[in-house]
């Protein structure tokens, strides 16, 4: 170790080999705690439009909680028991709210040009979250294990084959759709949402468009 690292007074020098120290100081520099968990916001954030993003995250939490319960108990349970049908409905309706408020959040950010002042990556990650969420919802419809999911799969297969995706994305393969729906895609959405929030916290909320000068790039 090139440096001694006490809890308080450690300083990373150029020759420091302590990657934990360098990483900690990089995080402190780019994302201090008063940015990560602010207790006050600029006055222009006082609008209900800014609540849409938070409601989207709240809906996502319910999607994940109900989804974990459904995956643990299985299709027999969510079709045949009253509690199972309740959690099935909880999962379905929280997804509806997730998409409704995500689109409202998108409208709000579009009209205030939320990509300004170095926030382009935040906007683009939001677009990717939207796209991955659509794919996650689609595989969810295919994982219901009822006539609706069979109808969707049989009709969707032609579009997938026409697009050239049928060879590696087979909508008639329940195991593949279910695996994607409960594992890879939710992890992807969650990681992207965390990155999105961290980027919003790092740069703060974009200022309103100046009525005199218009939107600054």
């Amino acid at each position: 170790m090139a440096t001694t690292s006490s809890a308080e007074g450690a300083v990373a020098t150029p020759e420091s080999k302590s990657w934990t120290l360098r990483l900690r100081q990089t995080i402190d520099r780019h994302l201090p705690m008063d940015h990560l968990l602010p207790d006050r916001q600029p006055y222009y954030v006082g609008s209900w439009v800014y609540v849409f993003g938070v409601v989207t995250i709240a809906a996502l939490v319910w999607v994940i909680v109900s989804g974990v319960v459904l995956s643990f108990m299985g299709p027999q349970w969510w079709h045949d028991s009253r509690v199972g049908r309740f959690f099935n409905s909880l999962h379905f309706w929280s997804v509806q709210l997730f998409f409704i408020f995500m689109v409202l959040h998108l409208w709000g950010q579009y009209f205030m040009a939320g990509w300004r002042h170095g926030r382009a990556a935040t906007w683009m990650i939001g677009v990717v979250i939207f796209a991955v969420s659509i794919l996650t919802a689609f595989t969810g419809y295919l994982s219901q294990q009822n006539f609706d999911s069979q109808f969707i799969a049989v009709n969707a297969k032609d579009a997938m084959n026409a697009a050239g995706a049928g060879a590696f994305f087979n909508v008639l393969n329940f195991g593949q759709m279910y695996g994607l729906h409960v594992m890879l895609l939710p992890i992807g959405v969650t990681i992207l949402v965390v990155a999105h929030i961290v980027m919003v916290r790092t740069r703060g909320v974009v200022k309103p468009i100046d009525p005199e000068g218009g939107a600054q790039p």
Partner: protein, 50 residues
């Protein structure tokens, strides 16, 4: 539940009643969010909320 829903057809636009209601509700909610007063939204001396 067993009967098909009503569809609206204007030119090239074809939309079901449930989808139209959801989109209409979203537009209404967005408009309300723009004009509804937000609690503690007054500007403080430092440019932050009070």
């Amino acid at each position: 539940m067993d009967t098909p829903t009503t569809y609206f057809h204007w030119g090239f636009i074809l939309i079901s009643m449930p989808n139209l209601l959801v989109i209409g509700g979203m537009i209404a909610l967005f408009a309300i969010a723009l004009v509804a007063p937000f609690p503690h939204a007054e500007e403080g001396e430092d440019g932050h909320n009070k």
